[in-house]
Structure formats: structure tokens, C-alpha cells
């Protein structure tokens, strides 16, 4: 290492946990910081629905009750925010995206998550299938609070957390890749924390 910051030792909380679970440039936190670009939306459950739209023959739509009647599972995962914090062993309850897309025939290769408040984020479709993504409604055994994305948010834990849209209302299947909110505002199009893909060009 050629460059040294004089007198910096660091706290190295990573050594208390499992260092192999902390991506480069991240630090562990026990808190749950919030990052949002605008006001927190508060959509009543009787006006909430979840949809699959775009490149498919028949759009799919679930009311809150229908959505909650779908089979769900508990997932325990590590999450990594591009603002540098990582949190280990977070526990969520939600519906696998595989369940939402079950039996669906599409030529789409990409997906855009879209949310109340106008937030969007884009991914290759293969990054939300095969047990890699969920629409979650409980965090740590409690209903997800609005400021953390409730009533439901996406959970795509293998990518930086901005790829897990809060207040998600649906998935739009697309033939072409359509960069989302942060992706057009300087952040990496894919966002793999292990490759440290934070910003454009990383």
C-alpha cells in the first residue's frame, strides 16, 4: 500500500464479525440508516396493489389481501448500502419474485422496479429470479415501517441496497435496459458490492 493517512488506525469493527462478509469499502452497522430522495409516501393498504406489467401477454395484479395470501418465506440476508454501511443477518418475510412470475412467458431480459413517489431501479431479469429477490413486508418480525419502504419493498440483497426499491408497486418487464432513478444520476447501472460498482465507470 503506497498511500498512508498519517496517524490513522481505524476501529476495525469488521474484525468482530466475519470479514469475508463485508464487501470492500463497507463498514458494519447495528443501526438501520435511512436513505431516500424525497418525502416518504403513505399509501393506504386498500389503495395498494402490486403489478407485473410490460412485456407479457396479460398483466398481473394483486390487491394487498391477495398479495398477502401468496406463499411467503422468511429470508435472512446481509445487506449493503452504497453509502458504505453493511448490516448482517437481517430477517425479512416476503414473497419470492419467482412466485410472482410463476408460469409467466416473457421475452423480456430486463426489469424495472417502480414505486410510489416515482422511484425506479433497473436490473437484468435474471437478477430477480432463481431465489435472488423478494417483495418483503415484514422486517425483524414486525410490519415494515413506511420510512424503511413499507408497506412492501423489494429485497435484492446481492446488489447494493438502492437496487431494492422501497414502496414498490410493481415490476415492469422490458426488452431493453432502462436505467432508473439513481442509475441516471451518477450511480452504477448494475451495483455489485463485491466489485465495488458504486458509480458510473466503476
Amino acid at each position: 500500500m503506497s498511500f498512508v493517512s498519517r496517524g490513522f488506525r481505524g476501529r476495525r469493527r469488521e474484525s468482530e464479525g466475519d470479514a469475508t462478509r463485508i464487501p470492500p469499502g463497507q463498514y458494519l452497522t447495528d443501526d438501520y440508516p435511512v436513505l431516500s430522495a424525497g418525502p416518504t409516501p403513505h399509501t393506504p393498504l386498500d389503495r395498494w396493489d402490486f403489478s407485473i406489467v410490460g412485456e407479457l401477454d396479460e398483466p398481473r395484479r394483486w390487491s394487498w389481501e391477495e398479495f398477502r395470501a401468496l406463499p411467503s418465506e422468511e429470508v435472512t440476508v446481509d445487506i449493503h448500502c452504497v453509502t458504505k454501511w453493511s448490516k448482517l443477518d437481517t430477517v425479512w418475510q416476503g414473497v419470492s419474485v419467482d412466485t410472482l412470475l410463476d408460469g409467466l412467458d416473457t421475452a423480456a431480459e430486463y426489469v424495472v422496479q417502480y414505486s410510489d413517489g416515482g422511484y425506479t431501479t433497473n436490473l437484468p431479469l435474471e437478477d430477480v429470479t432463481g431465489g435472488k429477490a423478494w417483495v418483503v413486508f415484514d422486517y425483524d418480525g414486525e410490519p415494515l415501517e413506511a420510512e424503511h419502504g413499507g408497506p412492501a419493498r423489494m429485497l435484492v440483497p446481492h446488489l447494493y441496497f438502492w437496487k431494492s426499491a422501497k414502496w414498490v408497486r410493481g415490476l415492469r418487464l422490458t426488452a431493453a435496459d432502462e436505467p432508473g432513478f439513481w442509475e441516471v444520476n451518477g450511480y452504477h447501472n448494475y451495483g455489485d458490492p463485491w466489485q465495488e460498482q458504486r458509480y458510473w465507470g466503476d
Binding site: G25, A37, G186, Y199
Partner: protein, 248 residues
């Protein structure tokens, strides 16, 4: 300029400390000289990277406090007692020391004088930093955009940039303080937490469709954003930036 600056990979640059200013007992501004700095827009941030002798590294993000201009980049850092990076920046750094830095980052929570006003800036504590960059950019451009800053601090001695804000006041810029915990003798200003009534009094009204920027701790920004929407501001016109209890 800044648009082109973020197209390539943001490389780590060596930044040398040239000046350190005490803003409040807990907050310092550290001015760096960053050769080849590409410029930035008000509201953007940088990543800071520290490296220990054994190669251990820590990174954090900090808002840029200064308006763009040459190779000088100023960061204003609040010391978090249990932080890993901020106590190093505020307590250890001396002029001549060097750190690594890359940026500028972020294309959303930004304001440029060409966007005009009216502008409503809502700051909680060190959340004033990116908003100060906007006020400095406005001043440097000679902009007369109608601007209000509503600034919540704990006490008078905790008001970051207090003297400079007093100098900037005027020319279409109105600065309103609220002091939530203690007030100096004779204080006639607001002395409570920010609320919808206060935001309505400070204005501008939603009918004037101001650009609104709110920055501060998460509970402050949540309360401010909710009150602004209740007052009738379009959610899309309210841009927020929040920082949690950890931040280094």
C-alpha cells in the same frame, strides 16, 4: 463541466489539507487542495478514503461545502464521538496532511444558479452543508434567486457558518433560525422543533412552486418532508438527503 466530469471512472485523488476552521465545538471545515479537481455542482458529495499503515482502509461520504472554484474543495465534518472516520478528520488532520478522495458524486440533490428560484432550503444541524454549497454557488454567480433558509440548530453556539450566513443574508436571501434546546438572552426567533406552521410562515408558498431541499438527520427530514407535503408542496419538488445515527 461537472456533467462531463462524472462520465469516466471516478478515480481516487490525493487531497492535501490547506486549512482547518472551527465552525462550532463539534464541527470543523477542512479545506483541501485537490490537483485536477474537475469541478462540482452544489449539493454533490465526495467519498473519503483513509488508509492505515497496515493497509486497512475506511471510506465515508461527505457533502461538499464549497462552491466550485479551482482546485479547492471544502468539507464540513461533524465529529461523531463513536465514529471511525470523523474523529480522525476533525482531531488528527493538520495542514499538509493528505487523504484520498473521489468525486464529485450525485446528480439529484443538486442546485445550480441557472435553475433559478424560488428556493426553499431546510437544514437540520450539519445537514446545512450541501445547502451552504448552494448558497455559496448562488452568491458566487451573483444570482438574486428568491431564497429562504430555515435552519434548525440546538443552540446559538451550534449554528454552523453563523457569521457567513449573516453576511449572505439580503439580496433576495432570507435566513431564519430556530434554536431547539437553548436560546441566548433576548432571543426573539423560533425556539422549537421545525413544524408545518413554521414552514408556512417562512414560505415561499406552494403556489410559487419553489425548489425545496431538506437535509439533516433522518427524523428531522422525515418531519420536514411530511409537513411540506401537507402544506401542499408537490412531493416531486421536495428533494431530501438524510443521514442516520451512524455515518462515521
Amino acid at each position: 463541466m461537472a456533467g462531463a466530469a462524472v462520465l469516466g471512472r471516478l478515480t481516487w485523488r490525493i487531497a492535501e489539507v490547506v486549512d482547518i476552521v472551527d465552525e462550532t465545538p463539534r464541527v470543523k471545515t477542512i479545506a483541501f487542495d485537490v490537483p485536477d479537481w474537475p469541478g462540482h455542482r452544489a449539493g454533490q458529495h465526495v467519498d473519503v478514503r483513509l488508509t492505515a499503515e497496515d493497509g486497512y482502509q475506511a471510506q465515508r461520504s461527505y457533502s461538499i461545502a464549497s462552491a466550485a472554484g479551482g482546485t479547492r474543495v471544502e468539507l464540513t465534518v461533524e465529529r461523531l464521538d463513536d465514529g471511525e472516520v470523523s474523529p480522525y478528520l476533525t482531531d488528527e488532520l493538520r495542514p499538509g496532511d493528505r487523504i484520498e478522495l473521489r468525486g464529485p458524486v450525485g446528480g439529484y440533490f443538486v442546485w445550480e444558479p441557472s435553475q433559478g428560484g424560488p428556493l426553499l432550503l431546510v437544514a437540520g444541524g450539519s445537514g446545512v452543508v450541501p445547502l451552504m454549497a448552494m448558497l455559496r454557488a448562488r452568491d458566487a454567480a451573483g444570482s438574486d434567486a428568491e431564497t429562504r433558509l430555515l435552519f434548525s440548530s440546538r443552540g446559538w453556539d451550534d449554528v454552523i457558518y453563523r457569521d457567513e450566513l449573516e453576511r449572505l443574508h439580503g439580496d433576495g436571501l432570507r435566513i431564519v433560525h430556530t434554536l431547539t434546546r437553548s436560546q441566548p438572552p433576548g432571543w426573539t426567533g423560533y425556539a422549537r422543533r421545525l413544524d408545518a406552521h413554521m414552514l408556512a410562515e417562512v414560505g415561499p408558498s406552494p403556489t410559487e412552486t419553489p425548489h425545496v431541499y431538506a437535509c439533516g438527520p433522518t427524523p428531522f427530514v422525515e418531519a420536514a418532508a411530511r409537513a411540506l407535503v401537507e402544506l401542499g408542496h408537490e412531493p416531486h419538488s421536495v428533494k431530501t438527503e438524510r443521514f442516520g445515527p451512524t455515518g462515521g
